[in-house]
Symmetry: C2
Subunit: 202 residues, 2 copies
């Protein structure tokens, strides 16, 4: 276990906790106080850390996602599990919520029945922006959606590249959760460039 | 305070905590046990909740961001503060880190000196993907960066729309942090559409 900790950079106490919580399968027992861990254990541990520290999932959410992965569920099912609980849904005032539902319905071209977590999260984000008096973002919703489709096409190509035999669900998960962070950082860098250029002109 | 709680949906105990931590300015005292809160207080409270629950910032991070906003710092400075600490930087193995630095240097067309938080976060995300054996994402880095520039152009137009008189830094912050969630949900919906269509064909 000391070696597993050294290989992954995760403290022994955390590894023990993950083992107890079932996030990491037990090693093969090779002595009264020794167990053998394989490279698969190191990889699993890295995945747990990545989902938590970069994906921002709670331990319970990581457990749900890993269970779906291990059960061999389809990529889109695993993604749905990961998307659940991405937004803490504090009760949003009813008028703001109704307004946001209207915007999402316009965008998706069908009555938003507020089912899947992604649609619910979208409605919450727009309702919160509305409550903050920042409606500009919803006025640009169609533009953002069109660009999101282009990004998703790159994601899909990436998942396709590895072929169905090699864990497409895991690739989809990493593409989505780590890719979300990656894209946000790229967007941040690009926006700061634009703002800096604008202030240099002013 | 009961009214402030009702208007915002935030429990009284949480409001008291925010007051103690200085995230929310004190109300105007109008009696020994009463204070008056304005619509500005309600808005501030909503902003704190949005940054925490949708932006995923910790309380300490929210405090830093609000301090930068209140000090009238430029939008790009406020964004830099918000971007700090978005990725928990666990020590990444040196070879993976060097590899990721190389990819980022290729992309940014200059030696990545690993300064600003966004560049550091980018390097960490790529290094973690590399450690997980998922290098596909870095192979698509230039495509993602090109689309991120288009998204940032929409963000910049949105910030521009409101004009310099009306809190551009706050708009930039909401556009970035809430917009990150918004865009991720749109991307998720688009990707699930593609994956569902692909599995229907198969």
């Amino acid at each position: 276990m000391a070696e597993l900790s050294a290989d992954s950079g995760v403290p022994v106490a955390t590894i023990k906790y993950y083992l107890r919580e079932g996030l990491l399968p037990a090693g093969r027992r090779i002595g009264p106080n020794q167990a053998e861990y394989t490279p698969e254990h190191v990889k699993r541990l890295r995945l747990v850390c990545a989902l938590r520290e970069i994906g921002g999932l709670s331990l319970a959410e990581v457990a749900d996602v890993l269970a779906a992965l291990d059960a061999g569920r389809a990529a889109r099912v695993v993604l749905g599990v990961a998307q659940d609980g991405r937004v803490t849904v504090r009760p949003v005032p009813a008028p703001a919520r109704a307004w946001a539902l209207g915007r999402v319905a316009e965008l998706l071209g069908e009555p938003a029945d507020d089912t899947g977590p992604a649609v619910a999260n979208l409605v919450t984000v727009l309702a919160v922006c509305h409550g903050l008096g920042h409606d500009g973002i919803s006025g640009r919703l169609a533009e953002y959606a069109a660009l999101a489709r282009e990004v998703a096409a790159v994601d899909a190509a990436l998942i396709d590249d590895i072929g169905p035999a090699r864990r497409p669900a895991e690739t989809a998960l990493i593409t989505t959760l780590l890719g979300e962070r990656l894209f946000a950082e790229l967007r941040h860098l690009a926006l700061v460039d634009v703002l800096t250029a604008a202030s240099a002109e002013a």
